[in-house]
């Protein structure tokens, strides 16, 4: 079951792989406080294959979050087509429910899907140790550190069971060591159980470590200005020479985009 969001002006229908994402010529603007339209994305076309991990990097305010909301059908494009398999969003702010324990927040999607509380807790609990959250099952969000909250939010996204995961700066609140551990864990988890992932980040190294392909967006309005295929064996390290070379390429594309 694919979710199609089309701009009011019908254009050529985007075709869709079995569980992927296709954007064609997507433009989207929002209105600022005075009602002046500000273009966020302008003519973005991209295609994410089934099981592919796509990283999108770009300067702040280049419409990365808008891109993910379009894929999750939370917004409609002003022009162009968006077609995506059902997608779960991990927002930049974790948006955990303050009245639920960490365990219940992680299993929220299962509760919504109609599973019993016990079953949702059991499923979520299995992954708590892997994410270094053991012992915090019953803590409320306000008792967790920023990094822990992010991991719980990640778990909630993963347990939604949707084929496409849209991750908005998922590891930004973590310290370097935990981030490295979670990148490894995520790499392993995606190898075991492939999902289509659209990962938005401003951390170019993280994009290289996790993604099959990196798209570089220009400053607002966002447009794809470079595409870098990352054909390195997994697990990767950001310090490998090949990874550093790719990072240089991405950084160059970013700074060229910024100076244009």
């Amino acid at each position: 079951m694919a979710v199609q969001t089309t701009s009011p002006v019908p254009q050529q229908q985007a075709s869709l792989a079995e569980s992927g994402v296709v954007l064609e010529g997507v433009a989207r603007s929002y209105r600022d406080r005075r009602g002046v339209p500000v273009p966020a994305l302008d003519g973005v076309s991209l295609r994410v294959g089934s099981g592919e991990v796509l990283a999108v990097v770009g300067p702040s305010g280049c419409g990365k979050t808008t891109l993910l909301e379009l894929i999750c059908a939370l917004q409609r494009p002003d022009a162009g087509n968006v077609a995506s398999s059902p997608a779960a969003l991990m927002p930049q702010r974790d948006l955990l429910l303050p009245w639920l324990s960490a365990l219940d927040n992680a299993g929220l999607a299962l509760r919504i899907a109609g599973h019993s509380r016990a079953r949702a807790r059991a499923r979520a609990g299995e992954l708590f140790a892997e994410l270094g959250l053991s012992g915090f099952e019953w803590a409320r969000p306000d008792e967790l550190s920023g990094g822990m909250r992010q991991r719980v939010a990640f778990l909630r996204t993963l347990l939604s069971g949707k084929p496409v995961l849209c991750l908005d700066e998922p590891l930004s609140a973590l310290d370097a060591i935990t981030r490295g551990e979670l990148q490894n864990w995520l790499t392993g988890a995606l190898l075991r159980e492939p999902r289509t992932v659209v990962l938005v980040t401003h951390d170019v190294e993280e994009a290289i470590v996790l993604a099959d392909r990196v798209l570089v967006l220009s400053p607002r309005p966002g447009r794809v200005i470079a595409e870098i295929a990352v054909e390195l064996p997994r697990p990767r390290r950001g310090t490998d020479p090949a990874a550093i070379a790719l990072r240089e390429r991405a950084m160059r594309a970013l700074s060229e985009g910024a100076s244009r």
Binding site: A87, L97, L108, A109, R140
Partner: protein
Amino acid sequence: MSARPVRFVPAAIFALALLAAWELYVDAAGVDQLVLPAPHAMFAQLWDNAGLLWSNFTITAREVVLGLALALVAGFAVAVAIHLSPLLRRAIYPHAVGSQAVPIAVVAVPLCFWWGFGIFPKLLVIALICFFPVVVTTVDGLASVDPDQLKLLRTLDASRLQAFRFAELPAAIPAALSGARIALAVGVIGAFIAETSTPSIGPYAGLGRQITSDLTALQTPRAYAATTVLFAFAVACFYSLTLIEHRLAPWAHKAKGENR
């Protein structure tokens, strides 16, 4: 809120200071005790008429607790209806505001005509007085959920009802209980109004009745003693509600708890 007795020391000192000033003023200025009884006379009445005051107190306390409960249930239900239906909001809200302007004496007659001289018409009067703060705070609480939070629930395929159950309803609980505390403050005087504006059976029914008949019978110190009981009852109910709120909505008190 901590239950440590030390917490109540400032209030006790303040009460003693007020009573001392009052006592000194009445003695020094030679005020007639029918105009303003001295605290010692008031406490003497409290002691001498403990049985009478207690039996009237139990009547009034039951009215306040049941009337407040009625207001809470009705207020919460109306708030939910207003929240879920813009049509009902437009239809009901102005009348909820207007109901606060209705003098009780106007409705007391038909209430007694329909339901007699027992407790029920008094409960309705108290509920009418307490209803409005509960509605207003609950409506605000239901609307206080972060729109991004609701967006996220939508990506997890939550129905309108599930969004209500997982996000809006829990958010409204601390708000409704704040409303209940405001309602309580007016509910105690509401009981006084209820008792004095609706006829009852027997010479004394509740502290409100007792106070009015004591004042007309020139038993001013005893009226003051009864007022002291109402005062203490309001304080006790207020802090009981705070305790209930901590039990029902512990997440809402993290910040206060940390710097207690």
